[in-house]
């Protein structure tokens, strides 16, 4: 698999997705405030999170909303670092975009997962989406009480944290790229 190849089916699906997100943020009161397309590592997580903090401060967003957004940003980016698939050349196809529509911030992210992982994630995320606030908190406490870090360093709290911070305003989608891989897209909203 070569994900970075111009004109490939995989690259076309990926670009179409990124372009459709960006296209939705043209016009009055709509703006893309952070956009990162391409590989992610911890250094980029650090620089993107600093950029997010600065942008939010500049926009005069309330401290509690900044914290929520910052939480979601870190969980999203670290999830991708841990679980985002790379192609045969080590290239990691990802996007990370924050859009602002009036007072509403939407955090978009996408990364490549194997079909097998896509299936499991789909079940897990549908499960989380069906929970009300009290059940979300309960599940969070259960994982916190009994949870240990996986070999990859995942805590099992990442998606629960995103759901809690966004008031379960979270959506996701899997687009099949080829037999082996899908593009996993996640978005969550926070009111500023």
């Amino acid at each position: 698999m070569d994900l970075n190849k111009k004109g490939s089916v995989e690259e076309s699906i990926f670009s179409a997705k990124v372009n459709s997100i960006k296209a939705a943020y043209t016009g009055d009161e709509k703006k893309i405030i952070v956009s990162h397309i391409g590989e992610l590592d911890q250094d980029k997580v650090n620089s993107i999170s600093t950029l997010v903090e600065n942008q939010m401060e500049h926009l005069g967003v309330s401290k509690s909303a900044v914290k929520k957004i910052f939480n979601i940003v870190i969980e999203t980016l670290q999830n991708i670092c841990l679980h985002g698939e790379k192609d045969n050349n080590g290239y990691q196809m990802t996007y990370f975009i924050i859009g602002k529509n009036n007072n509403e911030f939407t955090i978009f992210s996408g990364n490549i997962v194997t079909s097998n992982v896509a299936e499991k994630l789909n079940i897990r995320l549908n499960g989380i989406k069906s929970l009300n606030d009290a059940d979300l908190k309960k599940q969070y406490m259960d994982v916190l009480s009994n949870g240990e870090l996986s070999a990859k360093g995942g805590a099992g709290l990442g998606f629960l944290t995103i759901a809690l911070k966004s008031g379960n305003n979270m959506d996701f989608e899997f687009e099949v790229l080829n037999k082996e891989y899908s593009l996993f897209s996640l978005q969550s909203k926070v009111q500023g």
Partner: protein, 128 residues
């Protein structure tokens, strides 16, 4: 055993100081390391040594002042606190001081979650 453990603060990891001589045990800053298991491992091992070297200290007051914790850090800190439960069971008096900003309900809540789970003696303090 090592009397003093200090780890300098970075943009994604907190400052750590565990010092027996001055009885100072502090974790402060932001915590979202790439590998939180690896980051908190030396702290947990340090407390382990304290448990096996009885008589080094009679009181252990760990002060947290964290502004941000990623979900994997939240699990790692819980594991450190569970180690403090073992220390307490070994006869050391353990107190956790959990500092937070006045308007930071999330961090305060995380401390309360830990108190509920570990049943350790927690003191909550609001930063000036």
């Amino acid at each position: 055993m090592m009397k003093r453990l200090e780890i300098k603060e970075t943009s994604n990891t907190p400052h750590i100081l565990f010092d027996i001589e001055s009885a100072t045990f502090v974790i402060d800053g932001k915590s979202f390391p790439e590998d939180s298991k690896e980051f908190y491992r030396p702290l947990i091992e340090w407390v382990d040594q304290l448990i096996s070297n009885k008589g080094q200290i009679s009181k252990f007051n760990l002060q947290f002042n964290l502004f941000y914790l990623s979900s994997s850090s939240i699990i790692s800190v819980k594991q450190l606190l569970m180690k403090l439960v073992e220390l307490q069971n070994a006869g050391v008096s353990v107190v956790v001081t959990w500092k937070h900003d006045d308007d930071d309900d999330d961090i305060k809540k995380t401390g309360e979650d830990y108190q509920k789970i570990t049943k350790l003696n927690f003191t909550f303090e609001v930063n000036d």
